[in-house]
């Protein structure tokens, strides 16, 4: 999936299987990503588990779990708030659109979480105070914490490399090769046109949309990128940083954008 970290870095990662998105003293979020097509490097989120650790006289420990085609409007124990403690209402789950969009307000840690199901996959967004983000046991050898440290280098996918690969694979596909048929086939141009309908600014959300249409042929990913940007607009505190752009590269002969 595409990841925007707490430090506003933007990456496209494989991270197939279960990975810790957030792992601090108050909250654990784990995502499970699966290939969008058999054998594809591109993965998307099919399961998400959020653990709110118990906190003073505010909340008991609460677990929220969402899977593909199952976006519950309650915690795993059936409750919708922090339990029986005095400050239990400082943790609340709200269903915005049944089966498509829920929000979790964790006032005791100043945190807001948005979970959506768009098409067949899940998206996640969070707003969290810096102090809470960095509240980890041992900062030095803090393990994987994707929202804070991004994906390991060997898990990152580079749009450019992909695009040049796509150009060749695209040609192969047109010749009716044995590649898995896509629900819909997009060329780079038609993918851009489709994404521009929802994302007029050609920033990294736009590029993610193009990447997703080229890798899956599934137009739902246009909406995934669109809602991801809607969530940024709602949750990000610096309105000047909503759009992110790729660092420009020196386009030398070896780097010219692939034809087609």
């Amino acid at each position: 999936p595409h990841l925007r970290t707490f430090t506003d870095s933007f990456q496209t990662c494989k991270v197939q299987g279960a990975w810790p998105l957030i792992d601090n003293n108050y909250l654990n979020v784990q995502v499970t990503n699966t290939p969008v097509l058999p054998g594809s490097l591109a993965t998307a989120t099919t399961k998400l588990t959020i653990i709110f650790k118990s906190f003073q006289e505010c909340v008991d420990q609460k677990v929220y779990q969402a899977e593909m085609d199952e976006l519950p409007a309650a915690f795993a124990d059936g409750s919708k708030n922090g339990g029986d403690k005095h400050g239990a209402n400082s943790l609340k789950i709200t269903e915005k659109v049944s089966g498509q969009h829920i929000e979790i307000q964790a006032k005791y840690i100043g945190t807001t979480i948005v979970v959506r199901q768009v098409g067949r996959y899940l998206t996640f967004a969070v707003r969290m105070p810096e102090e809470v983000v960095n509240a980890v046991e041992d900062r030095d050898n803090q393990g994987l914490y994707l929202c804070l440290r991004g994906c390991p280098l060997n898990q990152q996918i580079d749009f450019h490399t992909f695009r040049s690969g796509q150009a060749t694979e695209g040609r192969a596909r047109r010749k009716g090769s044995s590649l898995v048929p896509f629900p819909e086939f997009f060329t780079y141009e038609t993918a851009m046109a489709k994404c521009r309908e929802k994302l007029p600014v050609e920033d990294l959300y736009f590029q993610s949309c193009v990447f997703d249409l080229l890798t899956t042929g599934d137009v739902n990913f246009t909406l995934a990128a669109y809602y991801a940007f809607e969530d940024v607009k709602m949750l990000h505190s610096n309105k000047d940083k909503l759009h992110l752009y790729e660092r420009t590269r020196e386009l030398g002969p070896g780097n010219a954008a692939p034809s087609g």
């Binding site: 999936p1 595409h2 990841l3 925007r4 970290t5 707490f6 998105l21 957030i22 995502v31 591109a42 993965t43 998307a44 989120t45 906190f55 003073q56 006289e57 505010c58 909340v59 124990d77 029986d84 005095h86 400050g87 239990a88 209402n89 400082s90 006032k107 005791y108 840690i109 100043g110 945190t111 768009v118 996959y121 998206t123 996640f124 967004a125 969070v126 707003r127 969290m128 105070p129 810096e130 102090e131 809470v132 983000v133 929202c147 804070l148 993610s208 949309c209 990447f211 997703d212 890798t215 990913f221 995934a224 990128a225 809602y227 991801a228 969530d231 940024v232 949750l235 990000h236 505190s237």
Partner: protein, 120 residues
């Protein structure tokens, strides 16, 4: 069936307390009545569940052992921690449970950050 929740609440309420004498210890009986009340709430969904039935029998035995009456207060009045400062202020939950309020007291408003994951 949420019988385990009743069990954990009872142990939490009674663990760590000094050894209870043979005379009826009011707080122990209160905890037992709360426990019994909790198991009654789960009766419908726990019927047939061994943990539930053993809890119900266990409560009866302990009630007899500690000479507890079935009627009486079922839970300690919640300790109301009023926020420091204006004690007239009504708080629907302790100050500690409102990050922004408690953070605000000490310094400038907190610095928020965002993280998002989407697509493929």
């Amino acid at each position: 069936c949420k019988i385990l929740k009743c069990n954990s609440e009872f142990w939490a309420a009674t663990s760590g307390s000094h050894h209870l004498g043979t005379e009826e210890a009011p707080e122990f009986c209160t905890a037992l009545r709360t426990y019994a009340h909790c198991t009654r709430r789960t009766a419908r969904t726990c019927r047939g569940d061994l943990a539930y039935h053993s809890a119900v029998h266990g409560i009866d035995d302990l009630m007899v052992q500690h000479n507890c009456s079935k009627d009486g207060p079922t839970s300690q009045p919640r300790l109301r921690t009023l926020p420091p400062g204006d004690s007239q202020e009504r708080s629907d939950s302790p100050e500690i449970c409102h990050y922004e309020k408690s953070f605000h007291k000490h310094s400038a408003p907190p610095n928020y950050t965002h993280c998002g994951l989407f697509g493929d």
